[in-house]
Each structure stands twice: as structure tokens, then as C-alpha cells.
Symmetry: C2
Amino acid sequence: MAQNRRRPTRQRTAVQALLEQTDDFSSAQELHARLRASGDAVGLATVYRTLQAMAADGDVDVLRTDDGEAAYRQCSTGHHHHLVCRTCGATVEVEGPAVEKWSERVATEHGFTDVHHTLEIFGTCADCARAARSS
Amino acid sequence: MAQNRRRPTRQRTAVQALLEQTDDFSSAQELHARLRASGDAVGLATVYRTLQAMAADGDVDVLRTDDGEAAYRQCSTGHHHHLVCRTCGATVEVEGPAVEKWSERVATEHGFTDVHHTLEIFGTCADCARAARSS
DNA sequence: TTTGAAGTTGACAATCATTCTCATTTAAGC
DNA sequence: GCTTAAATGAGAATGATTGTCAACTTCAAA
């Protein structure tokens, strides 16, 4: 299901490499700017296309920030959710088998099929909470 | 906490009335077009402002569609989630106390505070599945 | 290795939702 | 009725994302 007929180009490789060294969710614009800064320039449209392709292949996770921007992150494989610090963007991957089962059951009960869900938890991480308190 | 110092204007009333007769999530653009069509014209900027204010007051629920647009819907009070048909937009409100507890526990375990979460379930409703099959 | 078809890229234009600006209008209370 | 701050709206501005299309690669067959 993953990595269908995609060619290994310099650009794709650069994007993948960058995602590998990045722990938090980043927008396409951000990644594009970073690539440019690192000398490994890649066209903006290409960054978008690559990220979308990777997302479609399940190689990266996507989420929408509160203001509607798409943010990408390379994650461990398998279905999981994210606990994201709304201040510094730190991310923790979490799993919730119970949630998966629950959403599937609820959907089935209402006659829905081909179900898919999104669940993100936003909060303030311990570090940021401490920083805010001492400011 | 809700409805702080807001004036009851014709425009605000029109938006509220429209939301009351609408069952599915609709974008600001959609609502604006519908108001215009019904003769109750309201400026686009006002529709946006009103919806945001209502969302801030907790009078409407907001969610982001897959392509990043904000969609609004008037809902029953209290915390709940949505089961949305990705074809026709039909919406079912669902509650999941287990999910609430789980997300809170997980967040706490990782030192996060001031936690908030979003959970939406997308699928194909029975009607749309039937329609697709018979096409 | 050469070669051609098909997948990719990138600069830039085009979309399109959302926000901003600011002059004008309106509700609330006196 | 009069004053004032909130609210409105037309249109410009913003900004992320997508579309366009000619030029450029990759792949694999010859």
C-alpha cells in the first residue's frame, strides 16, 4: 500500500532527510524555508507535492493547526495519535486501542462504513507550564 | 462564560436563525451564500466575525474539513464529538466519556496541563453507501 | 549506451478562504 | 433625541495551497 511507483529524486530525498531530523510538526512552508536555508533548495510546489504523496503513502502524519494550516511529521508506523504542546509544539505519540474500538463501534451503530477518525490532544507541556509560571 | 457583551443585531440574529435550521456542518462561505440567497444579506466579513464569536462563546461547534476549511454547526450543549458522512455531510453527535477520561489521563501522564482535544469520525453513512452501490 | 516515454520539477500565476481597514451605521443608555 | 462604543460591509490585502506547462530526470527497453 505504501510507496507506490515513486521515483527517488534529489528533492524527495531532501524532504525525507529533513523530516527525519525533525521532531515536531512543521508546515510545508516551514520545511520549504528550512530546505532553502540549508542550501538544499527545493521548489515550494514540489515540497507540497512530496508531502502530500508521503502522507498518502502513510509515510508521514498530517494534522491541521487551529488556523487551518497543514502540519507534517514523520512518525513511527502504525496508527496512533498525538499529544501536542500548543506553546512549543513538542509532540508525544500516544496509542489508544480503546479509542479505536470505541469509534468503530459508534460508527457501526449508526450505519457508517469506511470509517476513519482524527484525534489530537492539545495542551501545555510541563516545560512550557514551568516557563510561563516563572515569567 | 457565554454570550459576553454581544449586541443582538439583525445580522447576528440572521446567522443564528440560519444555523438553527441547518443540521450539517457548513462553511462560512456557504452560510453567507445562503443568507444572501434568502434575501437576508449579511456581509461576508460579518459572517466570519459572528461565527468566530459564537464559537468562542461555545454556541457553535467548529471543525476543520480535510481541505482546511472551517465548518460550523449549532449543537446541543455539552462536550461531544461528531460522526460525519464524508459524502453527504450528515452529522451525528456522539459522546464518549471513556475517550474524555483516556485523553485526560494520557495528557497528565506526560505532564501536560490545560488539555483540550479534538476528535471527529468520518465515514460513509448508510444512505450514501447504498446510493454508491446502486450506481 | 542510447533513447524515448512517463514521472518530476520549479517558477509563477491563479485560487480561495480568511483577515484587515476604515468609513458608515446602529444599539444602548442617558 | 443624543452620545458613544460596538458592529457592519465593501473591498483590499494576506497567505496557504493548487494549477500550469515547459524543461529536466529516471527507468528500462533496444
